[in-house]
Amino acid sequence: MVVNPADVPITREDVQNWVKKWKRMSKTKRPTIEDYIRQQVDKLELSDEMVLKAHKGEDPKLTHAADLIIDDLGSYGVGAGS
């Protein structure tokens, strides 16, 4: 079952705070930004239906919330693979 994207209780402000915390970490010890985002989403212990969102477009498919956030990291000023 899919939910509206807006019902997933993660705001851009939350993600911005995660990104800020990640940037403050030591570069030699911190995980990749992708792994860090996944950890933070897991910590929220949301139900499966909360984190799986139908990514509506021409070809709808279910996508994990963490993967969607990672896909949009550019809008937080972070490049992929950091």
Binding site: P5, E13, K56, S75
Partner: protein, 519 residues
């Protein structure tokens, strides 16, 4: 070999110019009610043509090299609207009274983009703007930035009580704020529009029913604001500029690569600028700068300013009159209306209704001036501008025989040059000055019941002596006058005189003779 035809009188009246400009058809195929070209000419009356009004400098802003990138009218209930301008100095300025001369500008913020025009929207009684560096919030006195907004957004649109945004960083991505709250942006509220198709989002608009996501070459519509369900509405046409969308009465128009389109809803748009088709080619327009195209709408007309070839800013205005189109008797529908061209000093526009006034204002293209367009002036910021209209070529029903005309009867007002082009040539064959200006009101003495009483007529008829030999003749009207004229609008028993351009022409009638064949 010359031949003399049977002598035949010719009397030929023009049919008016409700067809507008036609640069698509061959010169001999242009309809009698169309114009080969027009510049700085308006259609104040259906069928007539008139010189446009000028423009007025409302004052300067910033430093001498600053220019307006975009402008917006922020309406607030029970207060004067504010006009906001985003300048090339990276500043956002505002004024509480755009009708003042000079305008007094206040500063909202600085440090904005100096190249990407900000787009604006109003929601929850606040004005929001974005130009890739910030999402700004302005309530008329206080400025804030919305830090949680996606980076790089520069196109805003409110649809279904929600702020939507797109930008340049990710060419496919559309973002949505929380419903009713442009300050909160859920992390998963985005969707890619035709992901990876090689195109880019250029404009987001709304017809109320759909959120319309334009790319350069295709158009998608979002139908569900919660799930972002979207589908293709037009597989072939997109939109060139976020600032080229115009809502007028029951229609929405926008500028595509092929010309001006009429949005049809959930279906391919209809091109309405086919009579000026040849304009929309890389030979005549600077396609690289079409993202700067800017539209305005005022009373019965709307227009788009576009950059011509070799120009980095908008230099040509194409103006459209949808209400002057032909009315089809059976359906009652109205067909496409006439087009005209203007060259004005403004490159950006916003329509402002304030108190008893309503006018178009905008930024000057080559100076740090904010201008009033179509002000009651005969000049553009004090500079003379020329008007020009060239009719179709008339062969008077005989494409072979030469004709001779001794008289042309002109119905119109004002002062202008009446010129003629002969036999599809481009040079001017003959020039006459026609002065139909009304004389000023003066008191004088006279005998009762002798002669006209009351003010001099606004519209006049003049028999102009000419000496014209031709197979076909085109009429050219031009002027470089600096005064204004007046258009008389009869409202019941009151004749209201409204400031208008220097001249107007309603009809011309030729009378002459058919001669014969001449080599």
């Amino acid at each position: 070999m010359a031949q003399v035809a049977e002598l035949k009188e010719i009397t030929f009246p023009t049919q008016g110019w409700q067809g507008g400009i036609n640069i698509r058809d061959a010169p001999d195929q242009i309809a009698p009610n169309e114009l080969q070209t027009a510049e700085n000419v308006v259609y104040d009356n259906a069928g007539g043509i008139a010189k446009r009004k000028g423009s007025r400098n409302q004052g300067t802003f910033g430093a001498g090299g600053d220019r307006v990138l975009s402008c917006y009218t922020f309406y607030r209930p029970n207060q004067n609207p504010q006009v906001l301008i985003h300048t090339s100095a990276g500043a956002m300025l505002y004024t509480n009274d755009v009708t003042a001369t000079p305008i007094v500008w206040g500063s909202i913020t600085t440090g904005l983009s100096t190249t990407q025009p900000a787009s604006f929207e109003t929601e929850n009684s606040k004005c929001y703007f974005a130009e890739t560096t910030v999402l700004g919030q302005w309530d008329g006195t206080t400025y804030n930035t919305i830090g949680s907004a996606p980076a790089g957004i520069c196109y805003l649109r409110v649809w279904k009580d929600t702020m939507w945004a797109a930008g340049l960083s990710n060419p496919d991505r559309l973002y949505s704020a929380a419903a009713g709250d442009p300050t909160t942006w859920p992390a998963l509220n985005f969707v890619d529009i035709m992901h990876g198709d090689g195109d880019k989002l250029t404009c987001i608009a709304s017809d109320g029913l759909f959120l319309i996501c334009f790319k350069q070459h295709r158009t998608q519509v979002v139908s569900d604001p919660a799930l972002f369900t979207n589908h293709t509405a037009d597989f072939e046409k997109g939109c060139e500029s976020h600032f080229s969308v115009v809502h007028m009465e029951d229609k929405m128009y926008y500028l595509s690569r092929l010309g001006v389109c009429w949005w049809q809803g959930d279906a391919s748009s209809r091109l309405i600028s086919y009579k000026i088709d040849p304009l929309f080619t890389p030979d005549l327009l600077n396609l690289a700068n079409m993202s700067l195209a800017y539209a305005y709408q005022l009373s019965d007309r709307c227009a788009w300013a576009v950059p011509e070839i070799g120009q980095s800013m908008n230099t040509l205005v194409i103006e459209y009159y949808p209400r002057l189109g032909p009315i089809y008797q059976i359906s009652g529908n109205i067909g496409p209306g006439p087009w005209t061209f203007h060259r004005v000093p403004l490159t950006t526009f916003t329509t402002v209704r304030q108190g008893a006034t309503e006018a178009v204002y905008g930024g000057h293209g080559t100076a740090n001036k904010f201008m009033w367009l179509f002000s009651p002036d005969g000049t553009d910021d004090g500079a003379t501008f020329q008007s020009l209209a060239i009719s179709a070529s008339f062969n008077f029903g005989s494409p072979v025989y030469w004709k001779y005309f001794r008289r042309v009867t002109v119905v119109g007002r004002g002062k202008f040059n009446l010129q003629f082009k002969r036999n599809y040539g481009t040079g001017v064959y003959a020039t006459y000055v026609v002065d139909l200006r009304s004389s000023s009101l003066i008191w004088n003495s006279g005998n009762w019941n002798v002669g006209p009483w009351g003010p001099d007529s606004n519209l006049k008829r003049k028999l102009q002596s000419v000496d014209l030999h031709a197979v076909a003749l085109a009429i050219q009207i031009s002027d470089s006058e600096v005064n204004t004229g007046e258009q008389l609008i009869q409202v019941g028993s009151l004749g209201q005189e409204v400031t208008a351009g220097e001249w107007a022409v309603m009809e011309m009638s030729f009378d002459g003779f058919l001669l014969g064949i001449r080599e």
